[in-house]
């Protein structure tokens, strides 16, 4: 009953999201709260978040075949399914951000490889493809036995032979997928970190923090998905505990790198790098507080999680915290900008006339207080709901669990 209610709610959110997207397609991106001085917002933040949550597949498969963590074997198909869903989700998340989504094929027709965007598309789609193949390879014997929705079932399969084949292919695929799994986070970070005009992003530290955020959220997503499929039981206790520990230690690494960057920016006390940091504490202290509290709590809970409740709360918290962290990528980047003359920022035209004759509002601004518009929130929530629905459907349809 509870499950059905949850699905119904997700369906409603998805429907609202699709309606909002249609509305945005009709009206243009004016319905968002992004404007010329603040040209990327919630969509791109969510894209970066989904790239991170897609890390689960890598963590699990590499742990099995490179570090010999055999306890992960039963949950490997679930992990690679989440990796597939979120890698696809990240690519989908960019679509509502495009002004001309109908021209998306230009990226295949005229790719410009000095831009990191086509590279990101290449690594993300390769990772999604490899995750899908990997899931199939892992499930090969069971698919032959039970089929998927009545298809693909073979008459009298030689299950032992298939098991051996699946094991052999998985061993080959895991190390091929690993570099792509690292690349999706680094290339995504590089899209932002290469921009000298944005002192909040520019530098070598962004890619490592993206990896830390990914290895914090990816396993947490795998924990939630596996709890949904298998529940909490003796057999998987150790797998959950290990995943929780990986997530907790990576959360700690994320906070370390984040504050390390803060100190470096703070110490000099001048310049654009410092000002970007100052904006976090002046204008976005509440969001900063939330990201830190959620990530810290999650790390504390997951480090010792030994109950189902602890695992669920910790995994949800780390995702919430990292989501706030992802949102905070945007405001300091756009509101502290290279074009300054001795601390005075040159204003930028908004791209929209606001106010009225008696109450005119400036067109040229040097600061844009970005709060996602209801349409942006609805579209982002809608896409997330659709991803969750597809994930649940895949986990129900595929023979991921041994006993059903």
């Amino acid at each position: 009953m509870k499950f059905r209610a949850a699905i119904a709610i997700l369906l409603i959110i998805a429907a609202i999201g699709i309606a909002a997207w249609i509305y945005q397609l009709q009206e243009g991106l004016i319905v968002t709260n992004m404007r010329n001085p603040f040209s990327w917002g919630l969509y791109i933040a969510t894209w970066a978040f989904f790239v991170g949550t897609a890390a689960g597949g890598l963590v699990v498969s590499s742990a099995i075949y490179i570090f010999g963590a055999k306890e992960f074997k039963p949950i490997a198909p679930v992990a690679s399914t989440t990796a597939f869903i979120f890698a696809v989700g990240a690519m989908v998340m960019v679509l509502p951000d495009l002004g001309r989504v109908d021209r998306i094929f230009n990226i295949f027709l005229y790719p410009n490889f000095s831009s990191l965007m086509p590279w990101d598309l290449i690594v993300l789609s390769t990772y999604a493809f490899l995750s899908a193949i990997y899931t199939y390879v892992l499930l090969m014997p069971r698919i032959a036995e039970k089929g998927v929705l009545g298809f693909l079932k073979r008459g009298s399969p030689n299950v032992d032979e298939l098991r051996e084949k699946s094991e052999r292919y998985a061993k080959i695929l895991a190390p091929i997928a690993l570099p792509f799994a690292i690349l999706i986070h680094t290339v995504t970070a590089w899209v932002l970190a290469t921009q000298l005009s944005r002192p909040w992003w520019y530098g070598g530290l962004l890619a490592p923090t993206f990896i830390a955020a990914a290895i914090a959220t990816g396993p947490a997503v795998v924990i939630l998905a596996s709890l949904f499929v298998y529940g909490y039981n003796e057999r998987l206790k150790n797998a959950y505990r290990l995943l929780a520990k990986i997530s907790a230690s990576s959360s700690a690494a994320l906070l370390f790198m984040y504050y390390n960057d803060f100190l470096v920016r703070y110490w000099w006390g001048e310049g654009l790098e410092y000002e970007a940091l100052a904006i976090v504490f002046k204008d976005y202290l509440h969001i900063h507080f939330l990201e830190i509290v959620f990530i810290l709590l999650a790390a504390a809970i997951l480090a010792k999680a030994a109950t189902k409740m602890g695992l669920v709360v910790g995994s949800v918290f780390v995702n919430v915290g990292v989501y706030f962290h992802r949102f905070l990528l945007m405001p300091p980047a756009y509101n502290v900008f290279a074009f300054q003359i001795e601390g005075w920022s040159y204003p930028i035209a908004l791209g929209e006339v606001r106010g009225s004759l008696l109450n005119p509002q400036p067109v040229f601004v040097d600061y844009w207080n970005y709060i996602p518009s209801p349409v942006e929130i609805a579209i982002t929530a809608g896409i997330s709901a659709i991803l969750l629905l597809v994930l649940v459907a895949l986990l129900k349809v595929l023979p991921v669990s041994e006993d059903t």
């Binding site: 009206e27 243009g28 991106l29 004016i30 992004m34 404007r35 010329n36 001085p37 040209s39 990327w40 960019v94 951000d97 495009l98 002004g99 001309r100 989504v101 021209r103 998306i104 230009n106 990226i107 027709l109 005229y110 790719p111 410009n112 000095s114 831009s115 990191l116 965007m117 086509p118 598309l121 899209v191 921009q195 000298l196 005009s197 944005r198 980047a333 900008f337 290279a338 074009f339 003359i341 001795e342 601390g343 005075w344 040159y346 204003p347 930028i348 035209a349 908004l350 791209g351 929209e352 006339v353 606001r354 106010g355 009225s356 004759l357 005119p360 067109v363 040229f364």
Partner: protein, 251 residues
């Protein structure tokens, strides 16, 4: 090879914003979109001096697209919709842009503008905001009325603005391709601008750049802008003139 550039003499700039307005008129910019900006350096309001009397400063800084020789916007464009033409002008192909706005993130000068809504809707909203019910002349649209394509057929100017694409200053490509100067150069009442070929040693712009001290904006980020500024000569006390080497803000 022609390589276009522009000199703006800040001694001659009176901050009237004619360049910004004439740009808006000739390039049929929608309301709220400005390819060209003029601000008073260091001041929250234009035409308000900064500093404490009698030590005041009021320097106007007009900013078009810098048409960088090393343009970050061209480097980041995933589909090659923005590119540097052989004559050094950085253009946007209205028919190829996918509207991802990566170039707006990359540009350190903030000159790029996005078409957030339909131009017609923006015009309607603009009139309403200005206190009009309709338009002052029904159906009249300002701007150069014809589409302009480069030799290889790429649409770089159109009076009908496609929604969802990025646009920016083109050095008035529709005019320079006909041998005319950009609108802001022709429209400047103080004659503060010189436009021409940087590679021709006999051009006016080359001669001016040889003789005078100039700066370019954000030179340290390595974009190699092709808009040059001649800095204003300041009086420092009675009878003392200082030739500054950088834009200063008195606070």
């Amino acid at each position: 090879m022609v390589r276009y550039g522009m000199v703006i003499d800040l001694n001659r700039c009176i901050g009237c914003r004619s360049c910004a307005v004439i740009c808006k008129i000739h390039n049929s910019l929608p309301p709220g979109t400005w390819w060209h900006r003029v601000e008073t350096v260091g001041s929250r309001e234009h035409h308000v001096s900064v500093g404490k009397f009698p030590d005041l400063s009021e320097v106007y800084l007009p900013v078009p697209c810098m048409h960088c020789d090393n343009p970050p916007c061209v480097k980041v464009c995933p589909v090659g919709a923005t590119w540097k033409r052989e004559d050094g002008v950085v253009l946007v192909d209205f028919e190829r842009c996918i509207g991802c706005r990566y170039c707006m993130t990359a540009c350190p000068y903030g000159v790029r503008q996005f078409n957030w809504e339909d131009k017609e809707k923006a015009i309607e909203k603009g009139f309403r905001t200005a206190g009009f019910d309709g338009e002052y002349v029904d159906g009249y649209r300002h701007g150069y009325p014809l589409d302009h394509r480069t030799k290889d057929g790429r649409l770089v100017y159109t009076p009908e603005r496609p929604r969802g694409v990025v646009e920016k200053c083109t050095f008035c490509v529709q005019y320079i391709d006909q041998g005319l100067k950009p609108a802001c150069v022709r429209g400047c009442p103080g004659n503060a601008r010189i436009f021409g070929d940087l590679d021709d040693p006999n051009s006016e712009i080359s001669k001016v750049l040889r003789d005078k001290a100039y700066i370019r904006l954000l030179e340290d980020v390595g974009t190699e802008p092709k808009v040059f500024y001649i800095l204003p000569v300041r009086k420092k006390g009675r009878g003392i003139i200082s030739y500054s080497t950088k834009l200063e803000v008195k606070r």
